[in-house]
Amino acid sequence: MARGAVAARPSESEWRSVPRKVIRGGRLLKAAIFLASLIPAAWLLWAALTGHLSANPLSDVTNETGIWTLRFLCITLSVTPLRRLTGWNGVIRFRRMIGLFAFFYGTLHLLTYVILDRFAGLDFPNGIVAWRTVRDLTISVGKDVYERPFITLGFAAFMSMVPLAATSTAGMLRRLGGRNWQLLHRLVYVTAIAGVIHYWWGVKADVQRPLAYAVVVGLLLAFRMVWARGYFRAAAPKGRRVAASNPDRQPWGSGAVEAVKNAEPREP
């Protein structure tokens, strides 16, 4: 197909003509991805309770939840490239869920830091259950976020996910409008970059792992830039690149419109 050609988006009737079996297959796959995404949390809980972590399990839990946040961010960011390169548009329906899992692990990571690192370091002059504890914990976290750049960055990365999680529902998408929603959700690029630097600044010497995440995030973002310039489009599989080959679409398009279409109304 020539570059300038216009390709129609699938119409409502075309969507409706998708066989029931395919849709049900998609739901099954979605359920499977949901369960698989819980495995790291379940494993971590099991390992912590049965002594399968290191001699410093509290540090392991903090590190692992952080790493899984980065992993889910990377998976979320690979949905669009995967879709573009394979023409498998249906993959978009899993993106929100995977993105919310990134938020889920990010929340666990923040909580472990607040409890295991900050709370555990307090003095408790009035006992543990006291207003003083709440005050001291707030000050302790606030001071740490302010004083330590790598914590500042980690905290910023988490905060950047909050509006995304809050506007992840189909209702919020409709209220914001596709374009605004899409613009807002590009914040996830900031989350990923801040997350990688946060990891990098946290290690003592060996930067192999942060570097690996930097490479992955870098490539995923670079793909978007390259795609915006029309680079891979000719290579995309023929016949199925319906949305991908439409030059009228936003160049960085993340499929918000399709996401609305695919949105199942009663979803958590």
């Binding site: 001699a55 370091g121 192999q208 490479v215």
Partner: protein, 325 residues
């Protein structure tokens, strides 16, 4: 919708098809390789590997008790032999316990060199000859803000130094760890990826080295030292951060100038030469005011000189410890 195309692209401006296809191939191959390498690194660490505690070694005979020992609750053999910073065997805490298993510690020699009268290469047995071994139960404070209580077995470093007969030129003692890439996979990490410059070097001022708390450790829990803890013999200076207590020593040199220790060489703004435990001087990236004793939930307040001020504080009288961190 209709897209208007400019009609005036000159053929000279059009990239030759073969060229751009090649470029695409290249980009794709490069991206593919990078993704494969990255996922390789990430996949390898997807789930923590279980470390294994060291197998018990030979019992050491005639070990004396020491008044310098603390009565605090000991960390377990398992904790002390699975949670190690020994970067020659990898940067994960569990790596040394898994990768040092076949490290060869016999025979072992130590080269004594520099400003002293008894320059020689000593067999470890000769180093140990005539030394009375003592139990030294010390607090161990890592620069990463965790700590343990460890029952070392060793003898005063001062005893060995006296035998070397350092001259009046000897102001510092420099220690060097074994460096053998064939046996130490961690040393193969290139500096570009954050690897340290090998061999690992540490140093003490002469008076620090002669302090009665400084020992050469050869055992743990009354047995010979496990490989991951710095076998066959190592330095233990409990009032300093753990990285000062250099492991698996192969060279001791008496020098006039302050040695450049490995961590200072790696990041001088974060790690100094003295590296005395000090709750008032924070690491640039984290606080040193508290520490987590391995096995405990609530953190403890870190003590000045790790609680050994009575024995060592006088050595630093008048020194600005914020500057000399």
């Amino acid at each position: 919708m209709l897209i208007k195309r400019p009609a005036d692209i000159r053929s000279s401006e059009i990239t030759d098809k073969k060229l751009y296809l090649n470029r695409r191939d290249f980009v794709r191959t490069a991206a593919g390789t990078a993704v494969a390498a990255a996922t390789g690194v990430l996949g390898a660490e997807a789930f923590l590997r279980a470390a294994e505690p060291a197998v018990h070694g030979r019992k050491l005979a005639n070990v004396q008790k020491s008044p310098f020992s603390t009565t605090e609750k000991l960390n377990t053999w398992e904790e002390i032999t699975t949670y190690n910073n020994y970067y020659e065997f990898g940067t994960d805490k569990e790596s040394p316990s898994m990768l040092s298993r076949n490290f060869k510690t016999e025979p072992w020699t130590v080269a004594v060199d520099g400003e002293c009268n008894k320059k020689a290469v000593y067999h470890l047995e000769d180093v140990l000859k005539g030394q009375v071994l003592e139990d030294r139960i010390y607090r161990h404070r890592c620069v990463e803000a965790w700590s343990m209580v460890i029952p070392w077995v060793g003898f005063p470093l001062a005893n060995f130094i006296k035998r070397c007969e350092p001259t009046s030129n000897a102001k510092f003692v420099e220690f060097t760890t074994m460096y053998d890439p064939a046996q130490m996979p961690g040393t193969r990490l290139p500096p570009a990826f954050g690897g340290l410059h090998w061999p690992y070097v540490e140093g003490l001022r002469m008076d620090e080295a002669m302090n009665s708390l400084a020992i050469l450790g050869v055992g743990l829990y009354g047995e010979v030292l496990p490989n991951q803890d710095g076998a066959p013999f190592r330095l233990v200076v409990p009032w300093k951060y753990g990285f000062k207590s250099i492991k698996s020593i192969v060279k001791i040199r008496f020098v006039m100038k302050q040695p450049l220790n490995t961590w200072q060489d790696q990041a001088a703004n974060e790690y100094g030469f003295y590296s005395n435990v000090n709750p008032d001087v924070n690491h640039p990236r984290w606080s040193q005011a508290t520490e987590r004793r391995i096995g405990e939930f609530f953190k403890r307040k870190t003590l000045m000189f790790n609680g050994y001020g009575a024995q060592v504080a006088s050595m630093y009288a008048g020194m600005d410890l914020k500057k000399n961190y």
